[in-house]
């Protein structure tokens, strides 16, 4: 049947479920007598299934795209983030934060800086990147919650390719008060690490995502209720923003 355009089209129609019942029956009779073509049909159907297996996961990925995002790429994801996850009501505030005075509170700046410093300090550790291993996650979370005097959670970043290595306690940042600071560390299959810093915040009950860059380390940070979060990693901004969204979603199901 190969080479005969009419019949070849019919075989593909059969693969794609585009035939009516009579046509389908006809093709089935034909295929019963033509094992080579039957094998091709089987392979083409398997291709369609394989395409879904390979790419359907993209449908569930967080993304930051939206219409009307400013053309400059580095701002693009920010707007999308707002539209997708924060909702229209805070877009104004976000825009103000991004294009307005650019000022952030001293506390918010500090969390980004603290996360970048901690990431740079502990990320290269081969043997002891964390104090408590992820294998003891229950204990880790209970311990850090107790020390921060508020429940904290270690979000799962497996969907982004990062597994939890464990966590550690950091000294408090001066102006925030006396509560210590929790640091979770994650690692992907290539050995790339991310640090998620969690600490109590005294200023404000919520902010939009913000971005800062500290040397080679990029940081996304935000405040949510009593806690501030900062995700630090030597990752591209877009890649890190996708993980930050995963964190945010996990903490705000």
């Amino acid at each position: 049947m190969t080479g005969d355009p009419v019949n070849e089209a019919r075989l593909h129609g059969y693969v794609d479920g585009a035939l009516n019942e009579a046509e389908r029956a006809e093709v089935e009779v034909y295929l019963a007598a033509q094992p080579d073509d039957a094998e091709r049909v089987r392979a083409y159907r398997a291709q369609n299934d394989a395409l879904h297996r390979a790419f359907d996961a993209v449908l569930d990925e967080p993304h930051a795209l939206r219409i009307g995002a400013p053309p400059r790429r580095r701002w693009r994801w920010m707007g999308g983030l707002a539209a997708t996850f924060i909702g229209g009501a805070v877009i104004g505030a976000l825009v103000h934060a991004m294009w307005g005075s650019q000022q952030v509170t001293a506390g918010a700046l500090t969390i980004a800086r603290q996360a970048a410093l901690a990431h740079v300090a502990y990320m290269p550790e081969v043997r002891h990147p964390v104090e408590v291993q992820a294998s003891d996650e229950q204990h880790l979370v209970a311990w850090l919650s107790k020390r921060l005097e508020t429940p904290v959670r270690a979000p799962s970043l497996l969907s982004a390719g990062y597994r939890l290595l464990g966590g550690r306690l950091l000294p408090p940042a001066g102006e925030v008060g006396t509560a210590p600071v929790a640091l979770f560390m994650y690692e992907n299959a290539q050995g790339k690490r991310l640090s998620l810093l969690v600490r109590r915040e005294t200023t404000g009950s919520g902010t939009a995502f913000r971005f800062s860059r500290d040397g080679a380390t990029n940081v996304f940070y935000w405040i949510d209720g009593p806690l501030g979060y900062a995700l630090a990693g030597d990752l591209g901004r877009d890649e890190l923003s996708a993980v930050a969204l995963t964190v945010y979603r996990q903490l705000n199901p």
Partner: protein
């Protein structure tokens, strides 16, 4: 008056991203392509005919953006990106075998000529009808059928012979 709302078009972003990812093989190139498609679709929104398939129309916009981008430069095919995708699947609980199969498929797809890859994806992944695919690509339906036949057969051969690994060696079956 706009023919559709921004929300309607944005609801289809996951579908556009999936197609773009399969088409370009790279997350960043795919998201750039999708973002450019959104912008262009919004500017050209008066051209959409109400009552027709909005998703198919968006694919046709994407096709135009894609072809233009090819004229400027080949999209980069990032092997790291491919490996990352395989890793994502493995972490999702799929077996290592599945991850390898997924990776081989993605590599084999990228070895198809662009016009064949587009048709294979529009029909096989996005499940557009042949007529819709013809409209998306602005070609006669017979052209869609011949590209589909050639693309599928070539993909089958690539998958059967195994894809070359990053050192250019072929896997021994």
């Amino acid at each position: 008056m706009p023919a559709f709302t921004a929300a309607e078009i944005e609801a289809l972003i996951p579908r556009l991203r999936r197609f773009a990812r399969a088409l370009t093989g790279s997350r960043e190139a795919a998201d750039d392509l999708t973002q450019d498609t959104l912008e262009r679709a919004w500017v050209k929104r008066e051209l959409w005919q109400a009552g027709t398939n909005l998703r198919a129309w968006l694919f046709s916009v994407m096709h135009g953006v894609f072809v233009n981008s090819l004229r400027r430069a080949r999209p980069t095919e990032s092997l790291d990106d491919l490996e990352h995708a395989g890793q994502e699947r493995a972490d999702d609980g799929a077996s290592a075998e599945t991850a390898i199969a997924v990776r081989e498929l993605r590599e084999a797809l990228l070895r198809l000529p662009d016009d064949q890859r587009q048709v294979v994806l529009l029909v096989g992944l996005e499940q557009l009808s042949y007529a819709e695919a013809a409209e998306v690509l602005a070609v006669p339906i017979g052209t869609v059928m011949s590209r589909l036949a050639r693309g599928r057969e070539r993909l089958r051969q690539h998958l059967e012979e195994g894809t070359p690994d990053r050192h250019g060696l072929r896997r021994v079956k």
